[in-house]
């Protein structure tokens, strides 16, 4: 007997949730597709180090596989790694975090950010964050049921966020301030006194501060201030950090969150049911990075700094004015002289001169008129890209 035919609805309904449908996809897909078909293209559109992980760290990963470290770890991560992170934060920033209750090892800062948002937000809670900022800040807020409230930042202030501008956007629903300095995409670094003012706003309005400090080690001629180290801020801060940028470990996917116990407890709950734990091999490698990676880290930073100076001078020489980025590995020059939008600029530059950059508008409205260019790129490629871009600017000015 043949099965009874099922009545099919005339039009398939959408199975995608409205929340996800409402999030726009990343703005670089079409550039990616164009770029992969192109010969001789140079990409300044990368968001990771061009170094491979230092060998001794890789070797620690290999060793862990050889020795059979192939199991789950505790949900919070290997205790030894939490101890190392705790020691690291103490020696760098004088912060004391209890490895048992105040630290959580995550699958990169990306997961840590998601956990933080899901753990602190009630529906319609507002999160204030600088614009432009890293692409996942807004979606992570929205996916957690919150409302993302951008604060414009401007080149006149080197894309640093002003405490007064944050305060203007505080409402009864504001739950947290989400900042990421050194900043992706702008390369901006906040000075201690400027962060103190942000801390004052947080205190006054009883807000949490989620501080994404993944680029903390990549600063040039300026000291990084850890937000949690400001007076009274440790209990108000969810500090997010990791290994990807400092030790060239992007593919290992390992990072951490540090906060007071009830927040870490809440984040661990979400982490336990969604991720279980970060990969043990990556955790073993991260231990090695913290124990013995300092020299390699400093060497890479010195190398980025040299290329930073070449790119910065190069942009200003060809008429794409650029403020001095003090951190991360991005320059964020203005392209307004061409009269093109940043998306048009990026697209035409790729087609005409085979140089890929990321339009600033991918990072928020205030990124319009700018492009993000990564100097974690071979010096010879930076120089060739600058020649091509100089030609392009001449033509379109």
């Amino acid at each position: 007997m043949s099965p009874r035919p099922v009545a099919r609805p005339k039009r398939a309904r959408s199975f995608i949730s409205q929340r996800v449908a409402g999030i726009s996809p990343s703005g670089i897909r079409k550039f990616f597709d164009l770029l992969t078909t192109m010969e001789g293209a140079i990409s300044l559109g990368v968001g990771e180090p061009d170094f491979t992980t230092p060998w001794h760290i890789r070797e620690a990963g290999i060793y862990s596989i050889e020795k059979g470290y192939t199991m789950y770890t505790s949900n919070k991560g290997l205790l030894e790694l939490r101890h190392e992170v705790s020691r690291h934060l103490y020696s760098r920033y004088g912060l004391e975090y209890d490895p048992d209750t105040e630290l959580l090892i995550t699958v990169g800062v990306s997961e840590a950010l998601d956990l933080a948002m899901r753990s602190i937000l009630n529906p319609k809670d507002e999160v204030i964050s600088p614009d432009p900022s890293y692409v996942s800040y807004s979606p992570c807020t929205v996916l957690a049921g919150g409302v993302f409230v951008p604060v414009p930042t401007v080149v006149e202030n080197d894309f640093k966020v002003r405490a007064a501008d944050i305060e203007k956007r505080v409402t009864e629903r504001t739950k947290a301030i989400l900042i990421g300095y050194p900043n992706n995409p702008t390369g901006a670094v906040m000075e201690r006194r400027e962060l103190v003012e942000v801390a004052e706003v947080a205190r006054k309005h009883d807000l949490l501060v989620v501080s994404d400090e993944i680029y903390d080690r990549l600063v040039y001629g300026i000291e990084h201030t850890c937000f949690a180290s400001l007076p009274g801020m440790k209990e108000r801060t969810i500090l997010l950090g990791g290994f990807s940028k400092a030790y060239a470990m992007t593919g290992w996917r390992v990072g951490y969150a540090a906060a007071r116990p009830e927040i870490i407890e809440a984040m661990t709950k979400v982490h336990q049911y969604t991720m279980l734990c970060a990969p043990i091999i990556s955790q073993m490698a991260a231990i090695e990075a913290l124990k013995a990676g300092e020299e390699a880290c400093l060497e890479m930073v010195a190398d980025y700094d040299r290329r930073r100076k070449v790119m910065l001078k190069g942009f200003n020489d060809i008429g794409l004015t650029c403020f001095e980025p003090r951190g991360a590995f991005y320059c964020f020059p203005s392209i307004k002289v061409t009269g093109l939008s940043s998306e048009e600029f990026a697209e035409q530059l790729l087609v005409e001169e085979k140089v890929a950059v990321v339009p600033g508008s991918a990072f928020g409205e205030c990124g319009e008129g700018y492009i993000r260019c990564c100097y974690a790129t071979a010096l010879s490629e930076i120089e060739e890209a600058l020649r091509r871009m100089g030609r392009f600017v001449e033509k379109h000015r």
Binding site: S26, I28, F31, F32, L35, T36, A41, S43, G45, V46, G47, E48, D50, T52, Y134, V135, N184, A302, D305, R306, R307, K309, V310, K313, A356, V358, A362, A378, L379
Partner: protein
């Protein structure tokens, strides 16, 4: 004063121009040129050279690492005999080492015979040389910090990421 940052850049890339180095260090081109000139004069910069992988061109080249045991001489120690050895053009490097022998000597020849002949004709016959052990190099993996083959780990990144 010799600027060490300039030397670090040149040590990585001898082809870096004074203009490039000036941009990278924040010094003026004149200051960079002055520092290089001074470093060359003081033999802080010994030489600019190129690491060539001759094997890639199918060029035959034989290298041998020779352990040399020496009877040191009064007053001059190992220096006099080391000098007699390092002056031979076949000798690529000479190191005084601790352990069971005294000098580590790297010799280059066109053929195995040529390299071996140097050892038994020139080296072993020196008066204060008590003995030699010759190790022919079978493969060069890494030279002066550079991996010769398969060292290219670039180009594995996704071309665009945020």
């Amino acid at each position: 004063m010799i600027n060490k940052e300039v030397l670090k850049i040149l040590e990585k890339d001898a082809k870096a121009t004074p203009q490039q180095i000036a941009t990278m260090t924040g010094l003026s081109v004149e200051e960079v040129e002055k520092t290089i000139e001074q470093a060359e004069k003081d033999r802080v910069i010994v030489k600019y050279k190129t690491i060539v992988n001759w094997e890639r061109l199918g060029e035959e080249q034989v290298q041998a690492l020779i352990e040399v045991k020496i009877q040191p001489q009064r007053n001059v120690g190992f220096d006099a005999i080391a000098e007699r050895i390092y002056r031979f053009p076949e000798v690529r490097s000479v190191y005084l080492v601790s352990g069971t022998y005294d000098l580590a000597v790297l010799v280059v020849g066109k053929t195995m015979h040529e390299a071996a002949a140097f050892v038994w004709q020139k080296l072993a016959t020196l008066e204060s040389v008590q003995g030699t052990v010759t190790h022919f190099l079978l493969k060069r993996y890494k030279e002066d910090g550079e991996i010769l083959d398969g060292g290219g780990e670039k180009g594995r990144r996704q071309p665009l990421t945020l």
